[in-house]
């Protein structure tokens, strides 16, 4: 009798213990000891002359997420040797570009195969990131430079551990994502900050919005109409990019398949022969700040770019038909006067507020 009693008691204890364990588990998962943190939603302030912007359903903008992203963007802890931050190759004073054709400041010291793109109006960049559009969104894009041995060369597991040592980060990941320091939250925060990098207050923008006291000179207006007619198919609309991929005739031999076909353009991603030698259209906004140009930075200045389109186009089967503006010949006829007008207009696309905006600069 007594042993049966003991057995029953033991069973009861086990059951009780089991239910307690289940209970505490659930409690931990649902609420934890801290109250649930709700970050503050943010809507981008879109310039009136811009198209509407889509909020990312998986990564809605919040005040806390953007602030965390800004901190991370400027933090050299993000590189393996704690030497480089995103801002090392994306400097605000030159519209988040790096002024180098092919940089070699990465952890390996090797010359990179591609030119660092400027970060401008990325909230609208919904057709792939990188020069070949290989990354699907800003979140996954960040993993590229973070982990590349020739760029920041960061081990993401170690990065998580490193950031967990910083109380401010622990608190900010919690308040922005209700999460501990995780790589997924790191890239989400970076993406949120990057989506706020809106440049839409150049002299051209104020003119476009018919703001009082703003006008463009006759020469600039001529430049505007020339850009619209001769360049506007690719550098389209108020964003001055179609977010598309084109072979703009800077090369006609794409047989070199080194580095997992990095020189072959968008074909590398789509594997479609029609995409051979096609690279992403960069925006013309702040273009006077973001030299050198092209995916490999081969053109040192705007004159070289315009000279290319004028008469140096190298033709291959995928060369964009839009470049054949000279009868049946490849090239875009531009007179000397037109050249000056185009350059004058491009200068009116420089947005000094963008490069001085304290919200985008290194946090204290």
């Amino acid at each position: 009798m007594s042993s049966v009693d003991a057995y029953q008691r033991f069973t009861a204890m086990l059951l009780l213990f089991g239910s307690l364990a289940t209970f505490s588990c659930k409690k931990g998962e649902v609420a934890g000891t801290d109250p649930v943190v709700v970050p503050h939603p943010v809507s981008l302030s879109v310039p009136a002359n811009f198209p509407a912007v889509m909020n990312d359903p998986y990564n809605p903008l919040t005040r806390e997420g953007i602030a965390l992203g800004r901190m991370l963007f400027y933090d050299t802890r993000l590189s393996g040797l704690n030497r480089l931050s995103c801002a090392s190759c994306h400097r605000q004073d030159i519209a988040f570009s790096d002024a180098a054709a092919l940089n070699n400041i990465g952890e390996s010291g090797k010359i990179l195969p591609r030119h660092a793109p400027a970060l401008i109006n990325l909230a609208w960049a919904n057709n792939g990131l990188f020069w070949d559009g290989g990354s699907t969104n800003l979140e996954s894009q960040a993993f590229g430079p973070l982990t590349s041995a020739d760029e920041m060369h960061q081990n993401l597991t170690l990065l998580e551990a490193e950031l967990k040592q910083v109380p401010a980060y622990v608190q900010q990941f919690k308040s922005a994502f209700n999460s501990e320091v995780k790589s997924a939250a790191i890239v989400k925060a970076l993406a949120q900050f990057e989506r706020t990098l809106i440049s839409g207050n150049s002299r051209y923008d104020r003119y476009s919005r018919k703001e009082s006291g703003t006008s463009l000179t006759t020469e600039e207006l001529l430049g505007l109409s020339l850009v619209k007619s001769k360049c506007g198919s690719c550098h389209a609309g108020e964003l001055f990019t179609d977010n598309g991929y084109h072979n703009n005739g800077i090369d006609n031999d794409f047989t070199n398949d080194v580095l997992e076909r990095i020189l072959m353009g968008r074909l590398r991603i789509t594997n479609n022969p029609a995409d051979l030698g096609k690279f992403k259209t960069p925006t013309l906004r702040n273009v006077m700040l973001t030299a050198p140009y092209m995916h490999d930075g081969r053109f040192k200045n705007i004159d070289e770019v315009l000279a290319h389109y004028q008469n140096n186009i190298k033709v291959s089967p995928t060369t964009d038909a839009l470049l054949f503006q000279n009868g049946r010949q490849a090239g875009i006829p531009i007179s000397g006067k037109e050249m000056q007008a185009i350059k004058a207009f491009l200068a009116a696309l420089t947005d000094t507020d963008f490069i001085k905006n304290q919200k985008f600069s290194k946090p204290n």
Binding site: S3, N59, S135, G144, L156, S183, A184, N271, N272
Partner: protein, 281 residues
């Protein structure tokens, strides 16, 4: 007296338990199929090369492919996902997707099992994916956890940052037939690298090397999944088929295959890797 009684009680309980379990195994009454009546089930990926067990960098005893090239293996890793089991009557159970991603690493014996839960029942067919499906590949990054966590995935080198895609199957090694020029291994280390991936593209269709593998279990032993035991389907994964499958190729001719047209040929060979050896029930 009391102690004796206790001992007696305990031993009778143990006896009872023992007899229950052995009974179940002998009689093997097929339980009624209920989707929520889950029991442990595993698939074991036992890497071999031809008739030999897999050993790494074994230069003294290299493997030989169909065209007579000798090679050694330094790394083998692959993703297994979306496990499904089917009964003879065609009833199919799909393992809850969140619990159905595994990274099998040749160098880490502990990773050779894909352990899941399926309803009690007798299964005659096993289906799984070699790779990571397009849905998961493009999913919100915070839903890609465990072996798919980009943090971990990159450490294992199973993620291409440049095209936001997972490498499904990775095998590296060396062979003396590899040239020292750009068509081979310019570092002179005579290494081959096969990194096979490609989920079919985010917006436009592109290389799709996701492979669904179906294994008939009727010949070498059906899986009798019961709660009181671990039913384990033991597969041999014969890596020689990478070279000797339907699209047989020479290492010298193709020492490096990553994200390219040729990867499609190798991915086809990968479907021949898996051979059911036996089932432990």
């Amino acid at each position: 007296m009391k102690t004796l009684k206790n001992i007696f009680c305990l031993s009778s309980i143990s006896l009872l338990l023992l007899s229950i379990s052995s009974c179940a195994k002998k009689s093997d009454v097929t339980p009624e199929y209920q989707e929520d009546n889950l029991a442990p089930f595993s698939v074991e990926f036992d890497n071999i090369v031809g008739e030999k067990t897999l050993s790494f960098n074994n230069a003294t005893s290299p493997y030989t492919n169909a065209v007579g090239e000798k090679f050694t293996v330094s790394l083998v890793q692959y993703f297994i996902s979306n496990i499904k089991v089917s009964k003879a009557d065609g009833t199919t159970y799909t393992v809850k997707q969140d619990s159905s991603y595994f990274l099998i690493k040749g160098a880490d014996r502990a990773t050779r099992f894909a352990k899941v839960k399926v309803p009690e029942g007798d299964y005659t067919k096993l289906t799984f994916t070699l790779g990571v499906d397009s849905l998961r590949s493009t999913m919100d990054i915070s839903k890609r956890t465990g072996v798919l966590d980009p943090a971990g995935g990159m450490e294992d080198g199973m993620y291409w940052g440049w095209n936001s895609g997972y490498i499904f199957f990775k095998m590296e090694g060396s062979s003396s037939v590899i040239s020292d020029d750009v068509n081979g291994d310019p570092t002179g280390k005579k290494q081959f690298k096969y990194h096979i991936g490609g989920f079919g593209g985010y917006s436009a269709p592109t290389i799709n090397n996701v492979k669904n593998i179906t294994v008939d279990l009727t010949t070498a032993g059906i899986a009798r999944v019961r709660k009181d035991r671990q039913s384990n389907v033991h597969l041999f994964v014969d890596l020689i088929k990478v070279f000797n499958g339907k699209n047989s190729f020479s290492i010298a001719a193709h020492p490096n295959v990553m994200f390219s047209d040729y990867s499609v040929n190798i991915a086809t060979n990968l479907t021949e890797l898996f051979k059911h050896d036996h089932t432990e029930n």
